[in-house]
């Protein structure tokens, strides 16, 4: 199964939850928000929502910038 995370293609043998994904990338303790295919995934549903084949996942955080 393939998915795109923040613009980079990744492969994984089996579907995984958003929480799994964040764990895999060492982001579990970071303050982040997640969208799959341009839909926001509420933090409360990270454990249940699955990343599926072909999904585009965005994981964002706050940075300095803008005005």
């Amino acid at each position: 199964m393939r998915y795109v995370l923040n613009g980079e293609s990744h492969e994984t043998p089996a579907p995984l939850s958003v929480l799994d994904l964040l764990t895999r990338f060492d982001l579990r303790r970071q303050r982040v928000a997640v969208a799959i295919n341009a839909e926001v995934v509420p933090k409360s549903r990270f454990a249940e929502v699955l990343v599926r084949d072909g999904d585009k996942v965005e994981v964002i955080h706050a940075v300095g910038g803008g005005a």
Binding site: N6, D26, Q30, A35
Partner: protein
């Protein structure tokens, strides 16, 4: 000393809003926020970099009990991007407030008026408290107010230019044309620019580069705090009329004679 104002549910006493970014360190950013007296700062949202992990986050340095942190949609160039960014940011930061920026030209960072109006309409409908960055165009500001934005944020001069309030006449016309708060966003390069914005009657000033790109950002942050307060107080005090000519402030009677 001066009265407070509201942006949606937020009640603010400081009329200075300070952006983040461009500081040499998170610590300098925080010290500048402290010196500015601001209660409200804006942050951008960006993809986490999966390859190189940054040591710490800006949010670790900005205690939410001292500063309201609201997201902006900096870098977005379509309404769709801006809306998704705002939705993600709301989830991330737990606030309905959003500084809406939809950039029409990456070179000059002028806003895209059409896309800003479109994004504002969607975000207001979704319950956001929208603070849109816009040109100093009275009609665009009127439309944003009609849509239900909580304030309008016309630019004083191009983002990052430090050119001050290029067109005070337009800001005055905007102030006549809308009832919502008018916050000058972008252009302030030094203290007097901020004072001028406030003297025109603006509710507040938002700035970023004017502080961060000063030689001593922390001292400049303090200068901006004083300037915003000075400009507000002068606005409330009601300035003297302008005249071409001198008029003596000393009584003309009682001058001494010389033998």
């Amino acid at each position: 000393m001066s009265s407070s104002f509201r942006l949606g549910d937020l009640e603010l006493h400081s009329r200075l809003i300070v952006g983040s970014g461009k500081y040499k360190s998170f610590e300098e950013n925080r010290l500048a926020l402290d010196a500015s007296g601001t209660e409200l700062t804006t942050v951008a949202v960006r993809r986490v970099d999966l390859t190189s992990r940054a040591a710490g986050s800006l949010l670790d340095w900005i205690p939410p009990e001292r500063f309201h942190i609201i997201p902006n949609t900096a870098g977005c160039s379509t309404a769709k991007e801006a809306v998704l960014t705002a939705q993600l940011a709301r989830e991330l930061l737990g606030t309905r407030l959003v500084k809406l920026e939809v950039i029409g030209d990456p070179r000059t960072l002028f806003p895209d008026t059409v896309a800003t109006l479109e994004a504002a309409r969607i975000l207001v409908a979704e319950g956001f408290t929208v603070l849109p960055y816009i040109t100093d165009d009275p009609v665009a500001c009127m439309r944003l107010e009609e849509i239900g934005c909580a304030a309008v944020m016309p630019l004083g001069a191009p983002i990052g230019s430090g050119l001050g309030i290029r067109n005070p006449a337009n800001i005055r016309i905007i102030l006549e044309s809308v009832s919502c708060p008018v916050i000058v966003d972008a252009g302030v390069g030094t203290a007097s620019d901020a004072a001028i914005a406030m003297e025109l009657g603006c509710t507040a000033v938002l700035m970023s580069t004017g502080i961060a790109a000063a030689k001593d950002p922390i001292k400049m942050a303090h200068a901006m705090k004083l300037a915003v307060e000075a400009g507000r107080a002068a606005y409330e005090a009601g300035r003297m009329p302008r005249r071409l000519h001198a008029q003596a402030s000393s009584p003309e009677q009682g001058l001494i004679d010389l033998p």
